[in-house]
C-alpha cells in the first residue's frame, strides 16, 4: 500500500457481494429462518395427516393471532437484550396493560383510541422506570426488573382482582379479524408487516446504531462519544412500549383481561429472542429475529401437541427450548471460532 494511490472505482459493492457478507455475518438469523421454514413444512404435513386437508386461512389467522403477543413482547425484549441487558418485567407490564385495557375500554371510538394510547403510555412509562433505575441508578438490570416485575404485577391486581372486563368487539375485529376483500388476509399479518417496516426504519436511526454499539462494547462506545446512558434509558422505554402493545393485543385476542396471565411472557419473550439468533450478551442480531423466534416457539408447541402430548406440558417445553436454544447458540459460536 502506498501513501498516494489513485482512488478505487466507485460502486463496486454489488448486490451479490453484499449478500455474501450479510449471510456470513448473520448465520444465527439465517439458521432461525431455516428452522422456521422446516417447522412450517413439518406443520403442513402433520396437519394434513391429522385433519385430512391442508391448513387454510383459519389456521393461518389463529396461529398468527396467538403468536403476535409473544412477538411483540419479544421485540421489546430484543431492544434491551441488544444493549446487553435483560428485562424480566415484561410479564408484569403485560399483566398491567391487558388488565387496564379490559377494565377501561368502552365501546365508543374515542374510548377505544384513547384507552389504547393510554395503555401504550403506561407500558412506555413502566419501561422508562426500569431504564431510569438501570441507566441512571446504575443498578443491575436483573434485580431491578425482578423488583419492578413484582410492582407491576401488584398494580395489575390492583386494577383488576380477577379475570374479567370486556374488550369491545370492534377492537377484537381490528386486531384479530380478517380483510374479506383481500382474500380474508388476517389483520394480524398486516400488523406483522407493519412491525417489520417499523424495524427497518428504526434500524436506520442513529439511536439504534448506538444501541448496537453499546451492546458490542460499552466502554468503546463511550470512548467514541456515544450517549450510553440516554440510549439505555430509551431501550428500556421502547421495551415497555412493546410490552404495553403486547398487553393490549393480548386483551383483544382474549376479548377480556387477566391480571396474571401475562406472567408467562417473561420467559417466552427471552426464549423467542434467543431462538431468533439474538445474542444474550448484546450487540448482535436483528430485532426481526425476535419475531421469527416467537413463531418458532409457537410452532414447536403446536407441532408437539399434534403428537398428542398433553398441553399441560407447555411450560416444560418453553423452558426446555429456552435452554436448548442458548446451548445451541453457544455451541455454534464455539464451532465458528474453531473454524477460524
Amino acid at each position: 500500500m502506498s501513501a498516494t494511490a489513485a482512488p478505487a472505482p466507485r460502486g463496486r459493492f454489488s448486490k451479490r457481494m453484499r449478500l455474501r457478507y450479510y449471510s456470513a455475518q448473520n448465520v444465527p438469523l439465517l439458521l432461525s429462518l431455516g428452522l422456521l421454514a422446516a417447522l412450517l413444512i413439518l406443520y403442513y404435513f402433520l396437519f394434513i395427516a391429522r385433519e385430512g386437508r391442508a391448513p387454510g386461512n383459519f389456521e393461518l389467522t389463529t396461529t398468527v393471532n396467538n403468536t403476535l403477543t409473544t412477538g411483540l413482547a419479544a421485540m421489546g425484549q430484543a431492544m434491551v437484550v441488544l444493549t446487553g441487558g435483560i428485562d424480566l418485567s415484561v410479564g408484569g407490564i403485560i399483566d398491567m396493560t391487558n388488565a387496564f385495557a379490559a377494565v377501561h375500554m368502552g365501546t365508543s371510538t374515542g374510548s377505544m383510541i384513547g384507552v389504547s394510547l393510554l395503555v401504550l403510555l403506561l407500558g412506555t412509562g413502566a419501561g422508562l422506570i426500569n431504564g431510569l433505575l438501570v441507566a441512571y441508578g446504575r443498578l443491575q438490570p436483573i434485580v431491578v426488573t425482578i423488583a419492578t416485575l413484582t410492582i407491576y404485577q401488584g398494580v395489575a391486581i390492583e386494577i383488576m382482582n380477577t379475570p374479567g372486563g370486556q374488550i369491545p368487539q370492534a377492537m377484537t375485529d381490528m386486531f384479530s379479524g380478517t380483510i374479506p376483500r383481500l382474500g380474508y388476509l388476517p389483520n394480524s399479518l398486516v400488523l406483522l408487516a407493519l412491525l417489520i417496516v417499523f424495524w427497518q426504519i428504526l434500524r436506520r436511526t442513529p439511536f439504534v446504531a448506538t444501541l448496537y454499539a453499546i451492546g458490542n462494547d460499552a466502554r468503546a462506545a463511550r470512548a467514541n462519544g456515544a450517549a450510553v446512558v440516554r440510549t439505555r434509558l430509551a431501550a428500556f422505554g421502547l421495551s415497555g412500549f412493546f410490552s404495553g402493545f403486547a398487553g393490549l393485543y393480548f386483551a383483544t385476542v382474549n376479548t377480556s383481561g387477566d391480571p396474571t396471565s401475562g406472567d408467562t411472557f417473561t420467559l417466552t419473550s427471552i426464549a423467542a429472542v434467543v431462538l431468533g439468533g439474538i445474542s444474550l450478551f448484546g450487540g448482535r442480531g436483528s430485532a426481526l429475529g425476535a419475531l421469527v423466534g416467537a413463531f418458532i416457539l409457537n410452532l414447536i408447541l403446536i407441532v408437539l401437541f399434534f403428537t398428542a402430548i398433553d398441553q399441560e406440558y407447555t411450560d416444560l417445553f418453553q423452558g426446555l427450548f429456552l435452554i436448548l436454544a442458548v446451548v445451541a447458540s453457544v455451541l455454534v459460536g464455539r464451532l465458528l471460532q474453531r473454524g477460524r
Binding site: 500500500m1 501513501a3 482512488p7 458490542n216 450487540g283
Partner: protein, 510 residues
Amino acid sequence: MPSIEGLSISKSFGGVRALREASFSAEQGEVHALVGENGAGKSTMIKILSGLYPPDSGQIRVHNQPVSLGSPQAALQLGMATIFQELTLLPYMTVAENLLLDREPRFGGLIRRGAMPDAAQTLLDQYAVQGLNPLELVANLTLGRRQVVEIVKTVSRQPRILFLDEPTSALAEEEVKWLFGLIADLRRRGVCMVFTSHRWNEIKGLADRITVFRNGASVGVFAGIDLSEEGAVELMTGRKLDMQYPEPPPLAKRTPVFAAHDLAGRGLRGATFTSYEGEILGVGGLAGQGQRDLFLALFGAGRFKSGFIDVRGARVRLRSPRAAIRAGIALVPEDRKTEGLLLPLSIRANLSLPILGRLSRAGIIHRRAEEILNRSIIEQLAVRTPSQEQPVGMLSGGNQQKVLLGRWLLSGARILLLYDITRGVDVATKHDIYELILRLAAEGHTLLFYSTDTEELAHICHRVIIMREGRFVAELEGQAITPEAIVAAAIRVPGSDRPLSARQAAGAPA
C-alpha cells in the same frame, strides 16, 4: 511555537510515581518519538496529554494556552486525537459502521445504510488503505488490520495533534510501511505527531526529534539524526544510583528441575527452556511477547496446543492451577489486585486459600492451626499489619505483594513463577523481595522471574533468557548480563539491521 506541552507533570498510581515533574513538548508539523523502557513513564505522559488521566500536578498547554482536559472528548474538541493500544472498535459491527460511527451518510435523519460501503471506501481510498473490505466484520480482521481501521477512524477526524501509543505493535510489515507513508503525509500537512515505540529502526526512520524518558522524567531531547541506537539504549537504561541490588552467588551445580519444550499455542511459538535447582532465571523482553501466555501455561492456566512441561525430569500434565499447585508450582501473577489477591477478604483468608484442604478436617477449617501458620509467614516476610483479619485491600502495595508471596511460600511450592512482582512496589519492599528471592534460591527453590526492569534482572538473576514473538531468542549469563544487553536483544527487529527512512517508505528511491 510548541503545539502541545506538558510542563512539570507528576503522576502517581497508588504510591508509585510514574511521572516525576516530567516535561515534554512537540511542535506543529514534526514527528516526535517518546522512547524509554517499560515503566519509564512515556505511556503515562501520553495518556495525560490526551486527556485520559488528570495530572497530579503540572500544566498542559495547547498552542501556548493552558488547558484542563477532563476527558478524551475534551481533547478532541481541541483538535487532539489519540490512537491507544486498546482499540475502541466495535467488534460485531462492520468496518464501514465503525469508520462512519456518528458520521454516517444520512437522509432526513435516517442513516443510508446502502450508501455506507461506498462512503467508507472513499475514506479508505483517501488514506490509501488497500485490501480492506468495508463490508467485513471487525471481529474477523487480524489485530493488525483492526489497528489500521482504528488509525483511519482517528486520523479521518483531522486532528491537528495526534498521539500514537505503540502504533506498530500489531502491524505486519506491509501495514507498517503504509503507516510510515501516512505519517509522512500528515507531517507534510502540518500535523504534530507524538508516538511511542520500542523499535529502533522505526524511531530512527520517522522521528524528527526524540525525547528519552527514564524513571519518570525526561533525560534529553535529541534530533533524530544525532542519536544512535547505542546512545539511546544507554540513556534508556542508565545507572540507577539510588538502588543497590544484592547479587546471588553462582550456582554450585546444575540439577534440572523445571523445563518446557517447544510450547506452542496462544502467544507461544515453540518456547523452550530449562531451569535448575536454586536458580533465579530471569525472563526479559519487550512487553507482550508471550511472557504472560508462557507463565499462565506453566501454571496450568493457559492452553497450549503442542509441547510439554517437565518437573524434575517427569512429564506433567497441568490441566488446571490445582494440578500445578500439586506439582509444587506457584504463580505470582501480573496484576495482584485483580488476579492475585481477593482484596475485600482478610489476610488470613488470602494466605491460606490454596492449602485449605491441608488445614481442615471434614471440611471444617482448623482455625488455630491456620492462625499459627499464617503468623509465621507474616513474621518471616515482615508484613506490616495489626492483625490477620485486616482486609488485604487496605494494605500498601508492597505489603500486598508480600501477602501474595507468603501464600505461595505457605503452599510449599518449590518452583515459583514470579511475574513482574516489583511493579508498583516501593523501594524498601523491593529490597525485601530481592532478599527473599535470593534466600529462596539458596534454599533450593527454582525461580522464574519476569521483569520489565532490566536493571533488576541484570543484578539478581543467574541467567536471563529473552523472549520475542512467543519464543526465546537469546540467553545471557554471568558477566554478560547487563541492562544494555537485555534491551538490545529485545528491541532488535528480526531480519532488518538498517533503519527504514520515511523517504524510502514513501516510495522514493533510497
